[in-house]
Symmetry: C2
Subunit: 197 residues, 2 copies
């Protein structure tokens, strides 16, 4: 009803996560009303990223170059490798500053029902790296979902067979989490993985 | 930290209303991870709109053409003119289907402190239309804020002086609104504008 060009803009904005018809309309009107310059800049940034961003050949994260900044950084611990499901997970870990080694991004998890097997999430490539490189510890940081656990288990078995030390990040009650509001399965985990003082 | 191209994308996305650093990052990763095609389409749509969309010469709404669809539609009531502050207000009225006349969009409200006077929000152009065209009723649908009320009052006075019939949309308790949760000034309005049955 706003004319072809605006309708197309509103419709396109809906490809963004968490943007429904109302927000898309608000965004479109905002861009047109107040922010033509930012609009052009945004259009360029999206087109540029969609065209230029590829994947790091080593860890499969998004990168402009063949090797990403993390893999190319020789000051990082070369003998630790952390397996995560998505780039967002990697960025969350990086932002927390809790890890100084390198990564391997699966870009998904094992899900036979959807036809996603080990090859689709690069496990072959990962195992190849474990054989070729001198990796001391493989840290499994997949999510604590059924699929994430299955994926961690699968990779763990293979890595152990290659003689690599494997660990899984700890799961339990989050910091500042009040027991009252923590869900049952997290509590179950927290109890079964309790540490002796 | 994600590399120049992605950082620029995340930063650009923040020009959208309601998008903070976290959502911008999520949007950027989503576009790169799953939706390269939609990303290119979105980039085109934004660039296209930023370049092509101008304003209707009659009512000042966004339009690809010199005269918008509403002003060009001769089946609409030609003798009613509704004054709104923003295009979003116009679209909200259109979507409700409560009005079949034409519009005039101020693109703001009187705000002397910010240097926004009658000329900046097109009141001269509006009064010119009232003199030139055969308008029977001018409906003031500016917001019920201090500025919106002042703007409505200012336009109302001028229009009355030109011999045009002027009305203001009704304000009061919204449909389905429970009195308990309605704010005091709305209740005050609802009482002072009460209708005799």
């Amino acid at each position: 009803m706003f004319g072809k060009v605006i309708d197309e803009l509103i419709d396109s904005l809906r490809c963004l996560p968490g943007v429904g018809p109302k927000s898309a309309q608000r965004m479109a009107l905002h861009l047109l009303e107040r922010d033509r310059k930012s609009a052009s800049r945004l259009a360029n940034a999206i087109a540029n990223a969609a065209e230029k961003i590829g994947r790091c050949e080593l860890c499969r994260i998004f990168s402009e170059t063949k090797e990403c900044e993390i893999c190319g950084n020789h000051r990082r611990e070369q003998r630790q490798l952390c397996v995560v499901e998505t780039p967002a997970d990697l960025f969350a870990i990086e932002q927390s500053g809790s890890y100084r080694g390198r990564y391997f991004v699966l870009l998904g998890h094992l899900s036979p029902i959807d036809g996603i097997g080990p090859a689709e999430i690069g496990i072959d490539q990962l195992l190849q790296r474990l054989s070729d490189e001198d990796i001391e510890e493989l840290i499994l940081a997949t999510n604590l979902t059924v699929e994430g656990e299955a994926t961690a288990h699968f990779i763990g078995e293979r890595a152990l067979a290659l003689g690599v030390q494997v660990s899984r990040i700890a799961h339990g009650v989050p910091l500042g989490g009040e027991l009252e509001y923590v869900d049952g399965s997290t509590l179950l985990h927290a109890f079964s993985s309790r540490k002796r003082l």
